[in-house]
Symmetry: D2
Subunit: 106 residues, 4 copies
């Protein structure tokens, strides 16, 4: 996400004085609510979906995720790379290649 987009999201929240509602708990609820609306695009049919609707719901997930990063003062790249370190250890290529087994069963 560019700095300009991040700034727009922040200004949107500040202009409406919504930071008071953005507790980590409320934002975690919001992310799962939007993620479920994204899933609703695929509720009865895996392969046919309304792309515009998918874009809007995925955008909502990304906006609330950005709100939570901001609320907690986290750096997106830092936490994602920390998690990718873990993922690479949990799923070594030679074991995980071409299968979707959970790491606890690898």
């Amino acid at each position: 996400m560019t700095q300009q987009t991040i700034d727009r999201i922040r200004k949107f929240t500040e202009d409406r004085e919504w930071n008071q509602y953005h507790s980590p708990n409320n934002l975690a609820k919001s992310i799962v609510i939007e993620a479920a609306e994204l899933l609703e695009c695929f509720q009865w049919n895996d392969d046919e979906y309304d792309l515009q609707h998918v874009k809007e719901e995925l955008a909502d997930v990304l906006v609330y995720s950005r709100n939570l990063l901001d609320r907690l003062g986290l750096d997106e790249d830092e936490i994602v790379n920390m998690k990718m370190d873990q993922n690479e250890r949990k799923y070594p290529v030679n074991k995980a290649k071409g299968n979707s087994t959970k790491y606890t069963d690898l």
Copy 2:
């Protein structure tokens, strides 16, 4: 997210030949599953939470969201700005300031 982090996520998937599992439907399921794990950090207590755990689960949401952007060939800034256009229209500052009422009830 920097290009370097995006490339790392892509390489992780490619090295494991996991693109075959990354249908939009499966990724939408994965985002909601990880979002619920994030919410679990706040299940019984809104204010005390394990920050390291929060970081890991939020990172998982962000990684699967990146996977879905890639799978659908979407540009993150484009879809977020499209949605922010909608949000700014749905929640005009003079009506939304300082209250959390849903736009359908504004």
Copy 3:
């Protein structure tokens, strides 16, 4: 659910003095958390799943749903029949038969 099973769930909560945690908000979070664990059984494969795991996660959804009914003093049959009244109106047989279109698009 038989009265005996309902009583067992209530006694489990009371013996552990967990009613203090069973706010409607916390129970709603818990239901979505367990529902996502149920979905995890189908994360990468729609058709092959661990039936024992499905049973356990569905049971968790049902137990927290019962906790919420209890917390709010609701009668399960009453609210389900109220909703079925709505569903039958929203999805008349002649329009809904054999298609999964959402009522707002029927």
Copy 4:
């Protein structure tokens, strides 16, 4: 749930020929989607909520859970009691009384 309510739910599905959409995977998606709509009643405020809305969304969770029990030929009391056996072992009264710590940390 009384047999009469169960029969009504089954007839609703059969009359609309919706059994074809009720794969376990689709029903698991549906349960989490409705559970998130239930959570939305508490998105920004834990304590003030629209009780009628809560009833409707909780009813949706219960109806889809019933659909999944039916689809898999499961007995609700059997799976709930099986899970309560596990819960009673994982959360012994003397350790769990008055605290909400997850069993893995007890």
